[in-house]
């Protein structure tokens, strides 16, 4: 559980033994005062829980409301361009040799690329730190996840539910605990272990956000994990469909493999769409099943970190209230939306599907805004300053997930007909 004692060399990575002894109260000012990774000194390693990273006050200026508004406006404009490109590029390229490729490129790709370009521009113009409070990644993605709940209908997943649940129950714990073990072997900080394990095993950035709320990780740790997720997910969108063809997998097996392997839900949809409609359907069901596990893992992590990790000697044992405080509330909205949409579809019948499609459009908008924000916030320096250990953990876990998910999907979805 606790991080191994660190050597100076290890300190270059992500490991800080102080994490296990830090009282809960320390997490907030630490995260609050975390410096910009691109300008932070070495002692401000974004993957550690060092409390020495408090920058001078002038390095963390309060943003004026107008600047916050400007930041939100930047996100909205880039989001609108993303939506425009997502809908227009396939039409433009329809009669060209790039037609199939353009049709397969989903909105996360445009959103992240535009976000990265936007981040470069605002960095060069020197306004990044002034407007960054408008990049409300947390709010955008949580709202998108609540709306995602409305697209998860029990009647839709009924046929594939049993193998999907079985796959999730087998793959998620295996990958989670393998990542947890590997990160522990490499001396990665406990909170980052939780984020990496959740991100690889469940659903990428969303699970990392849930885990971050549960374990009170630092903002830099979440941003770093999100950066890793995006770095791995982007090539996976194209790599897995290619490998599925190479391995001659059936569409359901390929879909189950993609759904159980790629971290972000949006990237799963993108990769599934590249393989085909049947693969996309199975991938969505499998991924949705994993998304449901997100809440359970968040509760388990909340309990574990509240009662085990953050307890200091002589400190008062945290009560159940602390568990509730750490529980990511958006999971409740996610579940409630699923219940409401399932009831609505059962009542309205097929006519209700068009209505839910509007909810899905709204969800896509919020996810676009979230991905744009992630691109705007992404800084390569975070990866470099975090050291090689978390990258090794994430890469190793991704390969493990690739193999385990392939084996399990091949067994559970053999002979499955969509």
């Amino acid at each position: 559980m606790a991080a191994e004692p660190t050597s100076p060399a290890e300190a270059e990575g992500s490991e800080a033994t102080t994490a296990t002894a830090s009282p809960v109260e320390d997490a907030a000012p630490d995260a609050l005062d975390a410096p910009d990774a691109s300008t932070a000194p070495e002692s401000a390693d974004p993957t550690t829980d060092s409390t020495d990273s408090t920058p001078p006050e002038e390095d963390a200026p309060r943003s004026h409301w107008a600047l916050i508004g400007l930041g939100v406006l930047i996100v909205l404009v880039l989001g609108a361009i993303t939506r425009f490109l997502e809908q227009s590029v396939p039409e433009w390229a329809a009669d060209t040799s790039f037609g199939d490729f353009a049709a397969a490129v989903e909105y996360p790709v445009y959103a992240i690329i535009l976000g990265l370009l936007g981040g470069l521009v605002i960095s060069l113009t020197g306004i990044r730190d002034k407007v960054s409070d408008g990049f409300r990644t947390e709010f955008f993605i949580k709202t998108g996840l609540v709306l995602l709940g409305a697209s998860i209908n029990l009647s839709v997943i009924a046929r594939a539910a049993a193998p999907a649940i079985a796959q999730a129950l087998i793959v998620v714990p295996l990958v989670f605990f393998f990542t947890w073990w590997l990160a522990g072997r490499l001396g990665v900080d406990d909170k980052l272990r939780a984020l990496l394990s959740s991100a690889v095993s469940i659903c990428g950035v969303s699970a990392a956000i849930a885990a971050a709320g549960a374990v009170r990780a630092r903002k830099e740790q979440l941003a770093y994990t999100a950066s890793l997720v995006i770095l791995i997910a982007l090539p996976s969108i194209f790599l897995l469909p290619w490998l599925a063809g190479l391995l001659d997998l059936s569409a359901p097996v390929a879909g189950a493999w993609i759904g159980g392997n790629i971290d972000t839900t949006a990237a799963v949809a993108a990769a599934g769409a590249i393989v085909g409609e049947e693969a996309l359907q199975i991938a969505a069901v499998v991924k949705s099943t994993q998304n449901v596990l997100m809440g359970l893992v968040a509760v388990a992590l909340t309990a574990y970190f509240t009662f085990k990790v953050d307890r200091t000697p002589g400190a008062k044992r945290p009560g159940l209230g602390a568990v509730w405080t750490r529980f990511p509330k958006f999971v409740l909205g996610f579940i409630l939306a699923s219940v409401v949409a399932t009831w609505y579809l059962n009542s309205a019948g097929d006519a209700g599907k068009d209505t839910i499609a509007v909810v899905n459009d709204l969800r896509t908008w919020f996810l676009i805004l979230a991905f744009v924000s992630i691109g705007l916030e992404f800084r390569l320096t975070r990866l470099r300053e975090a050291g090689w250990r978390p990258i090794a953990v994430f890469t190793g876990a991704a390969v493990f997930n690739l193999i385990v998910a392939l084996i399990v999907a091949s067994i559970l979805f053999r002979g499955f007909v969509v």
């Binding site: 907030a28 609050l32 947390e138 609540v146 509330k329 909205g333 949409a341 068009d354 209505t355 709204l362």
Partner: protein, 49 residues
């Protein structure tokens, strides 16, 4: 970026905590409100680009 991670511009841990919690609940409220508005027809088909 997490439900318990304060925003950069919060000047105190207490304020940061409130901001984070408010944003967490705000996502739930906005998400469910949008779902309700769609289901009762206030946001009809074709409005969302």
């Amino acid at each position: 970026m997490s439900s318990e991670t304060p925003s950069d511009n919060a000047s105190t841990p207490e304020k940061a905590g409130r901001t984070a919690i408010n944003e967490d609940w705000a996502a739930v409220i906005v998400g469910l409100a949008l779902l309700a508005l769609v289901l009762i027809g206030v946001i009809p088909e074709g409005v969302i680009p």
